[in-house]
Amino acid sequence: MIDTKHIGYKLAPHTVDVEKGQLRLFAKAVGETNPIYLDEIAARDAGHAALPAPPTFAFSLNLMNPNPFEFLDLLGVDLSRILHGEQAFRYHAPIYAGDTITIEGEITDIYDKKGGALEFVVQEFVATNQDGTRVVEMSNTTVVRNPAGGDA
């Protein structure tokens, strides 16, 4: 079982540049057709400062971190045992290509279901841009599979 003493653990903050090539690859991967996510001129014509990051991209910025699975190392969980359980975003301001985003996070809950066969780790993150504006808050719930039925 994952030790609940890790609730409250503050993850190492990290800072990441929002690159337009990355945004375009994301858009291509999901089959985006809305030109404001693909074409800077279309984005500007629609009133955006630059290419906007789509609604779930902050999750990706959080992974663009030298050690995106830091919490798994901390908790002693193998990458092959995790699934994504839930994901939530609360939006405060847009994220654009060219922004520099700093993300701070904390493990806020650890609990289990089905007699320990499934464990849940909740992390909350706050993302702030280069002007100090809070852009988005995220809550990530990771599911850890324990095929042996707990005690893994």
Partner: protein, 136 residues
């Protein structure tokens, strides 16, 4: 201006993406920064007890996000969340849909809460979500 209807029960136009291929998963691993090999490396997936690689949950959530931004400007979205109900497999085709649950006032603006869902071609639910969107 948003085109989202505001009466409870109103349905939003569904969005069906291309079927998910292994190429989709490779591109999304690069595009999304999620390099977990369970989505792109068959050997790793099998060692982890899976029959095959499977789609990133966030790929289907990105599809839901695309549906959302086809219904309203992104700047109107106040919150967006999803629960990953079932694994999405290679070859499946995801359709995203939404419905107005309620209209309410919050923080001095009119908002609607949308129920969202993503299903495969057989109608099996993969994601359940909701979003709060500002309306006129």
């Amino acid at each position: 201006m948003t085109s989202i209807p505001t009466e409870a029960g109103a349905c939003l136009p569904s969005l069906t993406n291309e079927p998910i291929s292994r190429t989709t998963l490779a591109l999304f691993a690069g595009g999304s920064g999620d390099h977990n090999p369970i989505h792109i490396d068959l050997d790793f997936a099998r060692q982890a007890g899976m029959e095959d690689v499977f789609a990133h949950g966030m790929l289907s959530m990105a599809f839901l996000g695309q549906a959302l931004t086809s219904w309203c400007p992104q700047a109107d979205i106040r919150s967006f969340s999803a629960r990953f109900v079932a694994i999405t497999h290679v070859g499946e085709q995801i359709t995203c849909s939404g419905k107005v649950k309620e209209r309410f006032e919050e923080s001095g603006e009119q908002r609607v809460r949308l129920d969202l869902w993503a299903v495969n071609a057989d109608g099996d639910v993969k994601l359940l979500g909701d979003a709060v969107v500002a309306v006129e």
